[in-house]
Amino acid sequence: MMDFGFKLSPSSAVNLDTVDRARYDRLVQLVPDARTCIDCGSCSATCTAAPWSGMSVRKVLLGLQRGRDDEVDAMLSKCMLCGKCTMVCPRGINTRQLILTLCRLDRKGEVVR
């Protein structure tokens, strides 16, 4: 293929028709409350790990629904399970359970054995 010195840039748009939500779907099956997130951001604001990975349960949930798995995994990589997010969540979501469950799922949404 010919090199023109520039390339097609990939679209930043999320196509909800094709986005792979397998991990999210399995997660909400196991932790149904995860669906009730209202993106208030309390969890991100209080997060102990946020300074090191931008961890935010809100963004994790959103990223899963938008097919941004790499970002999700990067955020989860520094979570210390300290439980502050669970304490502050106004919807009473058990965010620690959410995170632990998520860590057990592979990209296809299967629980690793």
Partner: protein, 340 residues
């Protein structure tokens, strides 16, 4: 004041007019209902079920109509002109009748925003784009080829509300909860469908509204995307391609839907403006009728003897409208007591 029973012209026989007329007649007055449409009931008559208890709209109307059975009602009747008299008002109706009355109650309600004015959404152009009213009609009749058996459904909040360019900067108040109600109903009807709600803010202020929201999220998995739909296109199979920004992740999103429901907002009724001008009653800058005071006298106009009930002064829920109708009746009662 003569010793006959005071007559009150109630303009509009929607739920506000019906309830006010019922109360007025109970207080010993003679209300006269004037309705432009061929039947009473207004917008509620077009609706299927009402939040928050999902009660059939027909039940509410039935009880209201039963309460107004003995009241003089002109349907299919417009008002040709209104005039002020020394002690009252005169209305010339389109059926040729002249009505002399001692007080006028505006129960003129609202207009549903004409969704085709938001051209980018393609209402009236794309086959799969309908409005909240169309969907309620479908719930009532189960007949609308546009609905079909959708696998993906979108709801666009704030169509014609909070939109300066559409000429309405006000919030229509009830669309958020209506959208969630309808989304739940659709999901219950078509459990396999993915349902998306595109919202700017979710304003769920009323009793049990938040429960609807949580139910929609947790039990039904309805997707809420914060972002206004910017444009809608039609794919080759006639489905609609919807573009919006998911403002919470800061990314544009695109989704192909089988059905797009536009939550047309509540806008002022131009007829009411017209009548108000004829009577010398003030109209607010948002086009709705202007209350004498937005705290203590929402149901009173700037003129004695002219009262408001319901959505003619701004978007209202059904219970708010009914409460206003009752308080308007009481205010009219006090008005006559003072004159006596």
């Amino acid at each position: 004041m003569v010793n006959r029973t005071p007559v009150i012209a109630v303009i509009g026989a929607g739920i506000a007019g019906l309830e006010a007329a019922r109360q007025l007649s109970g207080l010993g007055y003679e209300p006269v209902l004037i309705e432009k449409a061929p039947a009473v009931g207004g917008h509620v008559a077009e609706w299927n079920r009402l939040f928050p208890d999902m009660a059939p709209a027909a039940d509410l109307l039935q009880s209201l109509e039963a309460g107004t059975s003995g009241i003089r009602t002109h349907v299919d009747t417009e008002i040709a002109s209104l005039g002020r008299l020394k002690d009252g008002y005169s209305l010339i109706l389109s059926n040729g009748e002249t009505l002399l009355c001692d007080a006028v109650l505006f129960a003129t309600g609202f207009h549903l925003f004409d969704a085709s004015r938001k051209e980018e959404y393609g209402y009236g152009i794309y086959d799969r784009v309908i409005t909240n009213r169309d969907l309620e009609q479908w719930f009532n009749t189960r007949h609308d080829p546009r609905v079909g058996k959708p696998k993906a459904v979108g709801f666009v909040h704030c169509v014609g509300s909070r939109d300066v360019k559409a000429g309405n900067k006000q919030c229509s108040k009830v669309c958020c909860i209506t959208a969630i109600k309808e989304a739940i109903e659709i999901k219950e009807e078509f459990p396999d469908a993915e349902v998306y709600c595109f919202y700017m803010d979710l304003r769920l202020f009323g009793k049990k509204y938040e429960d609807f929201y949580i139910r929609a999220q947790r039990d039904l998995g309805i997707h809420f995307i914060r972002g206004r739909v910017s444009e809608v296109g039609e794919a080759i199979d006639g489905r609609v391609v919807v573009k919006a920004e998911d403002t919470l992740s800061g990314k544009p999103v695109k989704v192909t839907l089988d059905l797009l429901v536009l939550m047309a907002g509540i806008v002022c009724n131009p007829d009411a403006q017209h009548y108000a001008r004829e009577l010398g009653v003030a109209v607010d800058e948002d086009g709705f009728l202007k209350s004498r005071d937005n705290l203590g006298a929402v149901i009173e106009s700037s003129r004695p003897g002219v009262f408001f009930a319901g959505a003619c002064t701004g978007a209202k829920t059904v219970p708010e409208t009914l409460a206003e109708a009752r308080s308007a009746a009481l205010a009219i009662h006090q008005y006559f007591n003072k004159r006596r």
